[in-house]
């Protein structure tokens, strides 16, 4: 009972503190450096994962090969990969004591991009597969009648539904910008080098500086919301244009 009352009381204090400090937080140059790095890392990961995942998803949707259903189930399951597990695996890979240690990538932004790409690749591929499979049902006969098969046909469908694929890409972006487990382990949360929004929030929370952590959280959510809104408007405009 005492705990609940204490927590409620504390929450309201946190809220009011945050309101006072928010303008100060936003004005900080270091905040924007962290935001910029977060965007670079997550957007790069989304770009790489899309480059690989969209064709992969389309191939899965259109292709027929033994074990196809097992691969689809696996891909769907991998959507739920825990970020911290991916982080650990990539750490062991990139560590000096590991197979790719020579590259010296650990504790740098490229390592974070690498980890996040692995994390969101299944999401983008699986959602793309679903979208292409649905579209393929509509397009298949006509395309085959015209003589388009295999890779060419898959790419044609992929390009035709490109605005619907935005949903898959946004899901990947959401996952990447929200996760902290992978980037914390492979990035090391180094001040000024690998500190991103989520790791900064984790740090400030563990330091007990809850108003600052909350402020950072709000900035992060606002940015993700803005990106989603922009994507939605693009999708709508395209729908009007291409039917």
């Amino acid at each position: 009972m005492h705990e609940i009352a204490y927590f409620g009381n504390h929450l309201s204090k946190v809220g009011s503190l945050h309101m006072q400090e928010f303008p100060g937080i936003v004005a900080e140059a270091r905040l924007w450096q962290i935001v910029w790095l977060s965007l670079q890392v997550s957007l790069s990961a989304v770009a790489l994962a899309s480059l690989m995942g969209l064709p992969l998803g389309a191939a899965m949707a259109v292709g027929r090969f033994p074990g196809r259903r097992a691969v689809i189930v696996l891909l769907n399951a991998l959507m739920g990969l825990p970020p911290v597990v991916v982080g650990l695996a990539v750490y062991l890979l990139l560590s000096r004591a590991g197979p790719l240690g020579q590259l010296g990538l650990l504790f740098t932004p490229p390592a974070m991009v690498f980890a996040q790409t692995i994390l969101i690749l299944p999401i983008i591929a699986a959602l793309c597969r679903q979208a292409v499979e649905d579209a393929w049902r509509e397009y298949e006969e006509q395309l085959r009648s015209l003589g388009a098969e295999g890779v060419g046909a898959a790419l044609t469908v992929l390009w035709d539904i490109r605005f619907s694929l935005l949903t898959a890409v946004l899901a990947g972006l959401g996952r990447a910008s929200a996760e902290v487990g992978a980037v914390m382990i492979v990035g090391g949360n180094i001040d000024g080098v690998t500190r991103v929004m989520t790791t900064a929030i984790a740090l400030e929370t563990s330091k007990g500086d809850l108003p600052l952590a909350l402020g950072l959280g709000i900035v992060l959510i606002t940015i993700v919301l803005a990106l989603n809104a922009a994507a939605y408007l693009v999708k709508e405009a395209a729908q009007r244009r291409y039917g």
């Binding site: 509509e138 397009y139 006969e141 006509q142 395309l143 085959r144 009648s145 015209l146 003589g147 388009a148 060419g152 044609t156 035709d160 539904i161 244009r241 291409y242 039917g243």
Partner: protein, 234 residues
Amino acid sequence: MILPLALQQVSFSTGNRTIIEPLTLEIGAGPSTIILGANGAGKSVLMRLMHGLIAPTSGRVAWSGSDARRKQAMVFQRPVMLRRSALANVVYALKVAGIAAQERERFALEALAEVGLRQLAHRPARVLSGGEQQRLALARAWALHPEVLFLDEPTASLDPSATREIEAVIQAFDASGTKIVMATHNLGQARRLGDEVLFIHQGRLVERSPVDRFFTQPGSAEAAAFIRGELPWV
């Protein structure tokens, strides 16, 4: 010349349902062939077997001549268009067919003019009306100059005036020498456009005769019932 097309003991089943019983027939050049039958009789499956979209469970689909794949085209009941302009859709078909890049736009515009869609060349294909899209599908087929044109109930989803427009284009195809193979359950259309009728009932070819004789003196009880309007579906 890829005709005549010979079906040798061709059958098609899925699971334990037989959709087409073993069928042997020959489709020759010249007369427009109408595949007539009630809904579910197997017309669409037969068309797809002939065009090569599905493989027969047994038997052989044998075209004469070489490269039969590229000398056919098919128009479906609902036109499937890419999210591009009308012109771009026809150009796409030409691209897949291997036509040189410089020629594609010219041939495409000719095809659009042939079906009366020249003005709408740059409109997004998907915002066109049902009838216009179906005409576009015919333009796309026309641009390929196929020897055989398959049509699977092309006007089933269209209103009467659009239907008339489509029938006019089909007749133009016929006049230009393309072999027409069309599935329909529309008796009037069959009479207007066809030269011979293949009547399909429950997956079997029940009757084959010139169109006039089929409608005035049907040889089989099923055909007679169908013409009277008593067999809308199986």
